[in-house]
Symmetry: C2
Subunit: 375 residues, 2 copies
């Protein structure tokens, strides 16, 4: 892309329609919602959200290695050619930034973080080796003293800031997940090297990244370099200072003074229920001559929870109409049933066709959307 | 109790302070919230919610048998003396009726079902044999064709209505859970024969009942008679016609006409977030001369989800103050960590002490409570 010519990212190919949120660099982009929506259930890789914290590291397939280390009986390093020969899994999974739709949230109350629209999101196929397979090979089969967390980190010196004594090392972006989640097959945590059947794009973590279905994107480390088993959460700067939601009375200043960033209960891991209206698109004009109009949009939740209702209100919340929900997802981990253990890792699309008169009614000053999951 | 003298329940001992919601019979009662709250984390058995659908069946320890049947390789019957010799587990667990606080809901929009106050709840220790242990003994080790659901039912002819071709048989109260949940150790489903260390009280299911932590009470079959493995959900009348939440535009009439009771996505299984203010109690007067007042109450959620915030607003929702949360629960199933797989099956108590001036402020026309869980 021409806009990247004078940046360290000038070697990365990018789709011209992406909306750039933070200037040129680091690269933080989303698609326009009508365009992404029109591609349907599976998003194209080049319109998938990108959240970078620094320039894209130039990684090499042949020399890139992941270090499985920390409190493990059998530490090892693994290269990409060896990784792709291990047992793998492929399934569609939504990746969403925790800040999806923050632009609208910021209109209500300003927060830290830049203003994502409704497309900090992408639903694609991912292929990779289950994290538990790598942990098993290192001799870890269950949580225990010393092995309570898995710290994940990208390359050192990826980011401009230098925090020397953190997990992952100086300048790395890192986080951790609990060992139970890492080892539980129904959580589907994978170390992924393919997206939609092709090797990863540099913006999406080439050559290898973590996918943690149902979690916020901020925990799915790209350019994965280190899998470290520890007794405590990652002490990486970004693990504690990013991706928290503190209670409303606690602002950033008070949080820093009183140590709120380190309280485990305010971490964001699983996505919460969310969704948006794709059609009508911004500035779209609906002709009065039409008989009906089909509202369309998406909805999702975290933790594998199924979206069971997507509703629109045309009278400012007094009454709600139920949309049709469409998904092409086969729920995972509930063989032969649609029970509570079934895991839904993808978004669903919804549509509601209404008579034009409903929109012309004077009570209809705005159209509101809401969704409900099974929890 | 004298009030039961002319009912079939006249042999059952009951606490005089229980609030009777549906007249004498069937027996549906809750405690008063300040009284229950004052007992703290563990509730006394005789103030624990009772939800009966008919007269209490007179079961006999020596002759009561559970029939493990349906699509199982090795069906068997088990009596109580044999059951209590099997491996068992003991842990505290909240039992809540799905209709807890329906009285307040009904003030906003009337629903089906009678008006529970905020005490359709009890948090006690339960001891029992894991359901998976019984299923294993019957030869069921994983879900598969024919073995997708576990149908649970109480005695036949317990209830006045006679549905002959249903799981459990005529006049039984029954439901089902998916096989994944039944077999998953982290779901803690048990066939319980002790509450707070004593044999079950007749109102709580003597001699044996099901406990499904994090689920609504309506699925925890009392006086358990049948564990039946099937390929489809229970067809018991109460499984389909009770314990559903349909979208607001769908009333009971439309639901029956259009078959909404049979849509699997509108079943209620896991509890959702809820809570209440115990102090100030109804009619309590706070003297102006006091410097501060300590608000107190409880909060809980379902599916093992932890309550992370309990908040009060003194200005009608414009701002919220964070209460202290107290629990005496050791979370289950996350050895050595407080991670996402940790299961919280109990309620927690919260307190917030505020200066009396806050209550005298003219903006303070009412005090609102809300809670947030980790999802």
């Amino acid at each position: 892309d021409e806009r990247d010519l004078k940046t360290p990212d000038n070697w990365v190919k990018r789709h011209p329609n992406l909306i750039r949120l933070t200037g040129k660099h680091p690269f933080n982009v989303e698609a326009s919602l009508p365009e992404l929506y029109d591609y349907g259930f599976i998003s194209p890789v080049n319109l998938h959200i990108v959240r970078n914290h620094g320039a894209v590291p130039k990684c090499d397939w042949d020399t890139h290695k992941i270090n499985i280390c920390g409190n493990v009986p059998k530490p090892f390093e693994i290269g990409m050619d060896e990784l792709v020969k291990m047992p793998s899994d492929t399934f569609p999974c939504l990746v969403v930034c925790a800040g999806n739709r923050r632009k609208e949230q910021n209109l209500v109350k300003s927060s830290i973080g830049f203003s994502w629209g409704p497309c900090a999101i992408g639903n694609t196929y991912w292929t990779g080796v289950p994290l538990r397979v790598l942990l098993n090979r290192a001799g870890i089969h269950k949580p225990g003293p010393g092995a309570r967390y898995v710290c994940l980190a990208g390359p050192q010196n990826e980011l401009p800031k230098d925090y020397p004594d953190q997990d992952g090392g100086p300048g790395s972006y890192g986080t951790s997940i609990d060992m139970e989640t890492a080892l539980d097959p129904t959580c589907d945590v994978i170390v992924a090297y393919e997206q939609n059947g092709a090797k990863l794009h540099p913006d999406h973590g080439f050559p290898v990244r973590v996918i943690i279905p149902g979690y916020i994107g901020g925990r799915m480390i790209k350019f994965l370099k280190e899998i470290k088993v520890t007794d405590r959460e990652s002490n990486n700067f970004y693990h504690f200072n990013d991706n928290r939601v503190l209670p409303p009375p606690v602002d950033a200043e008070r949080a820093t003074e009183e140590g709120w960033w380190f309280k485990p209960e305010f971490i964001i891991n699983q996505l919460n229920i969310n969704g948006a209206i794709a059609y009508p698109a911004p500035e779209e004009v609906i002709p009065k001559s039409q008989k009906t109009y089909a509202f369309k949009g998406y909805a999702y939740s975290g933790g594998g929870r199924k979206v069971i209702r997507a509703e629109l209100s045309f009278d400012q919340g007094l009454s709600w109409e139920l949309s049709d929900i469409h998904t092409r997802e086969e729920p995972r981990w509930a063989d032969f049933s649609s029970g509570d253990k079934a895991r839904h890792w993808c978004w669903c699309m919804w549509t509601l066709e209404v008579p034009i008169e409903k929109l012309l009614d004077k009570k209809c000053v705005e159209v509101c959307f809401r969704a409900v999951d099974q929890s």
